[in-house]
Symmetry: C2
Subunit: 244 residues, 2 copies
């Protein structure tokens, strides 16, 4: 069987996340439907990241085992013709038979966008967390340094989720600003459930002065979710890149 690797972009606003569910429209569900139309039968799609309800992807990767040979050059167009406008297959290609979109991942890069302005903007509300107040970015950048490297990120793990290990390695964390739009980029070898959104919620508490300097290191060391800030809302989050 031929392993097909798909690179996918989607606006997650109107979906109940990536993963197929008994109720509600999901990204995986819509793509599996399009595969069924093209291939004439069901195929299970495996995604790199099970993005949550309302979370976006500029570059999700997924694979499936094709049961028929379809010209690969035409596959993306064929699938797109059967997909809604807010999901786009950017690329379809054959991969090694053993390729697994999720287990072979070396690192992933997420971006989290914040629109910080006195005035709201209707064109950013689907893609950024709106904050009416200003943030101290210099302090946020300084505090974020404590997170770089290999650590136990239990303090930033959703309290109802228990992955086998909560140790992950953050390779890069940077914060950039363009006009009213602040982007927090985090690359890691893996992420715990809600890890980016919990880190962002904590950084925002620091940036608005709710938490004193030195807090990030203390929170990380505490390994206690209740010490960290709130979970930032989903609309700001976007999966940007997956490295293999």
């Amino acid at each position: 069987m031929n392993t097909v690797k798909l690179t996918i972009a989607y606006d997650g606003t109107d979906y109940r996340g990536w993963q197929i569910q008994p109720n509600g429209k999901t990204v995986q569900g819509e793509i599996e439907k399009s595969i069924r139309k093209i291939f004439g039968k069901d195929h299970r799609l495996h995604g790199t990241s099970r993005t949550d309800s309302g979370v976006h992807a500029a570059c999700q990767v997924a694979h499936f085992k094709a049961t028929r040979v379809i010209p690969i050059a035409k596959m993306a167009d064929a699938l797109n013709s059967a997909l809604p406008k807010d999901i786009v297959i950017l690329k379809a290609e054959y991969a090694d038979t053993a390729f697994h979109a999720r287990f072979d991942t070396k690192s992933k890069l997420y971006s989290y966008k914040i629109f910080s302005s006195r005035q709201k903007d209707p064109f950013h509300q689907r893609y950024a967390w709106y904050l009416s107040y200003k943030l101290n970015l210099a302090l946020m950048r300084k505090e974020a340094l404590a997170l770089i490297g290999r650590h136990d990120f239990k303090a930033f793990q959703a309290s109802d989720k228990k992955e086998r290990s909560s140790i992950r390695k953050i390779l890069e964390l940077n914060i950039v600003k363009h006009k009213s739009l602040i982007t927090i980029n985090i690359e890691a070898d893996g992420f715990l459930y809600n890890m980016v959104r919990n880190i962002v919620g904590t950084l925002v508490d620091i940036g608005r002065g709710y938490l004193p300097p030195g807090s990030m290191k203390k929170i990380l060391d505490s390994r206690d979710r209740t010490q960290a800030g709130p979970t930032a809302p989903p609309e700001g989050l976007c999966l940007m890149q997956v490295k293999y």
Copy 2:
């Protein structure tokens, strides 16, 4: 009575245009509802431009005659708290009693966005016309020169609409490109119904080579709607500025 001038931005994707209708959600309808909540009674809102279904505004202007005195500094926030996220009051201010958002307009500026790329992008599909082919922008710019100035734009007027006069003055028309995004900016002292979208549809027919050089001048002179290109879809259009 105090005349209140509102400056409004909205993502028009999920609305049946600006103007209130018996069926369907409209921008004017949603704002009038928010005024009713704040003022406790009905007020008629007058907009500069009756944008169509799916058309956006970064800067629509509207006015109403307030029957109660409400602190103007808090009015935008109050109205926004009663509005959906895709409509934002950017500013509320008192204007001259005689001010009329529509009749006092000196000029309006519209932008039309085209996303021209082999690959679709789910984050642009609400705000730009997607074209899978390339456009000859140099030729489009050259042909567009025929439109500048005072002309009879009957060839670009929706065939079922008959405004008293089809003479308008285009003050500026420029075409800019940033990566895959092409923006056509048109400022005029007034616009006929569908005029921007019919001009854009014609420019695209020129840019893709469907119409030979010299076409724009001929089409304009013909005063015949059937000579011009198709009406570009609404999602690319945005009201950018209103001058008084």
